[in-house]
């Protein structure tokens, strides 16, 4: 498909809509707009518009649709699969200026926000109102629009679910510029196909999110974290299905290896409470009553010790818990800092298959002779497996990475897992999604895309 190339008339139009100070071309475009956190494509859009309202975005989309110009929606660019990179140029619409919290409704427990509000600002704002927005992805400087677009998950999915579970309503600009509202503040909805759920996780390919109504919960009053050292990773991970089976529901269950802890210590310049063991589970429990939460974690501590844990370290002060979880939060950056280049595999598998998958990657790294590091959400089966380039020459790196990815995605499919647990498909994981899901599934995705965007102008080449 031949798209229209941007010319001076198009720029004139964009300036007439958004104003001169919000439209950037050529050298004015900041380097960050050429990449995301994994894909350093060096591909620039022809023009960046920092939109300020739904109306601006609607007018630009209508124009782009008529003129057949590519539009790439952009939040903070913290994605890991290339979804917000403008590989084919065109217009990039950034939501960086649409960063207002519009309303806290404490009678309906909802928060209405613009798409450019940062996750960290939402968390802080609702906490200061004694409320709780549970989704907890590691990258707190992501925009909420980006979180919704990838259906971001995070650590607390074990107990609280993912971003999808906390989006009550959306305002969406369709590829042709029309604006629809879906959902709202309503708790239930059986009023036609759930367009809302289709837009969530669509990585900006079906519509442009311009407003979101989020569901909030009361802030839990008590929280404990448990750091549990194990002799090895297999023993640690194999304990998780036993915890689930015991009908305890921790808020989070993460697994980590000593190597990741050491890397994070170096990166942060801060000491972790313990690194004498090869492998750890890190758990959190929250609730409103001390006794209730204590009961829950004591039961789980007992299960861990029975399963071979060396010890159970309990933290109940906020400071201590923050230290531990900050280390966990720094893993990706620490691993990044430890190598020249990396790529990640974000598969999700049923919770009782995590151990098998991790064993497989350990064998694989020896077989292919490449460094593979992993950590992740043991409690929800979502793994983050990083293949590291270190000092490999380009061709060898590409060949080994391809081989490792082919094998890992095939293994995930074999275990009834899925291509992406929370980071999305973007441009980079498309071949793996196609392979894992097959033609019938992909044809349904493509027909949905064509139904929303028959001219394929909104974020083309992503997802399907």
């Amino acid at each position: 498909m031949a798209y229209k190339k941007i010319d001076s008339k198009d720029i004139e139009f964009l300036v007439s809509v958004a104003g001169k100070d919000k439209v950037f071309v050529g050298d004015q475009i900041h380097e960050t707009y050429s990449r995301d956190e994994i894909v350093h494509a060096g591909k620039y859009p022809d023009v960046v518009v920092e939109a300020e309202s739904t109306e601006e975005i609607s007018r630009i989309m209508k124009y782009a649709y008529e003129q057949e110009i590519i539009v790439t929606p952009r939040g903070q660019g913290t994605g890991l699969a290339g979804a917000s990179v403008a590989f084919q140029g065109g217009i990039m619409i950034s939501t960086v200026r649409m960063n207002k919290i519009l309303e806290l409704d404490d009678e309906n427990l909802t928060l209405t926000v613009e798409p450019g509000v940062l996750l960290m600002d939402i968390i802080k704002f609702v906490q200061s109102n004694d409320l709780f927005y549970p989704p907890d992805p590691g990258e707190k400087s992501a925009s909420i629009g980006g979180n919704i677009s990838t259906n971001a998950g995070g650590m607390k999915a074990v107990k609280y679910g993912v971003t999808r579970d906390y989006v009550r309503g959306l305002e969406v600009v369709l590829p042709d510029g029309r604006v629809i509202e879906v959902g709202g503040k309503n708790v239930k909805n059986s009023s036609g196909y759930s367009i809302k759920d289709l837009i969530i996780g669509a990585e900006g390919t079906l519509g442009f999110i311009t407003k979101a109504i989020l569901k909030l919960l009361p802030l839990p009053k008590v929280s404990y974290s448990l750091l549990v050292p194990f002799p090895d990773l297999a023993t640690a991970i194999e304990t998780v299905p036993k915890i689930i089976k015991s009908k305890s529901i921790p808020t989070a269950i993460e697994f980590m290896e000593r190597s990741a802890i050491v890397a994070a210590e170096e990166f942060l310049g801060k000491k972790f409470p313990d690194k004498s063991s090869d492998a750890y589970l890190l758990l959190t429990f929250d609730g409103n009553k001390k006794e209730e939460v204590e009961d829950a974690y004591e039961k789980v501590a007992h299960i861990c010790l029975e399963a071979g844990a060396f010890d159970v370290f309990i933290s109940n002060t906020q400071e201590r818990q923050e230290t531990i979880w900050k280390t966990r939060g720094a893993f990706l950056e620490a691993i990044k800092a430890s190598t020249s280049e990396l790529d990640e595999c974000d598969v999700v598998v049923p919770r009782n298959k995590v151990a098998e998958f991790i064993k497989f990657t350990n064998v694989l790294q020896k077989e292919i002779d490449i460094r593979i590091q992993s950590f992740g959400h043991a409690g929800d089966g979502n793994l983050h497996v990083y293949v590291l380039r270190d000092d490999l020459p380009a061709a060898e790196w590409k060949a080994k990475l391809t081989k490792a990815f082919d094998r890992m995605y095939a293994k995930a499919a074999e275990l009834d897992g899925l291509t992406s647990g929370e980071h999305g498909i973007g441009s980079e994981k498309k071949p793996f999604l196609e392979k894992a899901m097959g033609e019938d599934y992909m044809s349904v995705l493509k027909s949905i895309k064509a139904a929303f965007d028959p001219k394929n102008i909104l974020n083309p080449g992503k997802v399907c």
Copy 2:
């Protein structure tokens, strides 16, 4: 669009697929297959097939797609909006024989079921394993396939959410007979557009659900119910936003009027603990610790008394709670038994708008001079408002019903509510959905339908 009429060759094909004893034509078709619980259309399909496997349904769909024959999916026919009625004849595929619970996986907390399993059987089965399937629609003899197709809600949505929140994976036969699997046992999923969420609530118009993987929770150990008498309905309902604002999360908050209680008493032949007041809130609290649950309900009891409640009756025995909730569960049947015909409006509004909506219906019933009864889920804003025919002549009934519905749906839209909270759109609520949502929204629904079913053979004329 002209569909192919069923002839003897088609019947032959269906018999060759499913066997003679599972294919019914003409007089062999049971009367229940001509209607649902509200729509007594007297419209029979040309043939009913009681399918027994995904393969049978796939082969029939493929054939029907090629031949351009209408197919209507059918569960237990307990719907309230006409979605499972074969208004235009063709093939009805009933899931009544696909009623097997396939697997309880206690390491992943999932239950895999065929679509014809009854809700009551799921509840009983998981309870006997100390587990919990939270969605709690009043109609326990509905099939799970039907519950998923309408995204059924129920009483416990305040705390636990709706059916959508408990569907992890689906097996779906597409309109052309291809079979896809979406989701699975995985806790997270960012692997392309959420087809699963599109099928949920699609009322059997986008695909035929042949298997479902449900998410389970541990069974809460403690449960209390509070029956709270108020001087009038407005005072009762206006208390609900105060409860939500107090950051307590009851499991359920229902409102009811004396007239509904009296009708249910008569219907069940059983006494309700109290009917001295005009209006009541009925609340449940559950959890794992007695103290935790007691704290929660005491706080809420206090709020109710401050807001003008006469008293708070607390039930903690299972027997006592069952009596109360059985009465609540019998409201629809009781109201049905009290009149000659009725139709219902199942709108949902933001929780702090319930009182305003109910006041509006009270004015409306006087203005139009027709009996209107309502009860519903005060805690989640989902109302069930019944317009009763009593002894009105047919023409007058139609005219008054149309007027009442037009006004009520317009009011719901004005309050930022939605056409259906949990019963779906089917054939009956389509005009109201169109009016409420507008052309742009409906055109998106239609384009999704066309993407899945370009020949419009699967349950045509429903939803959009």
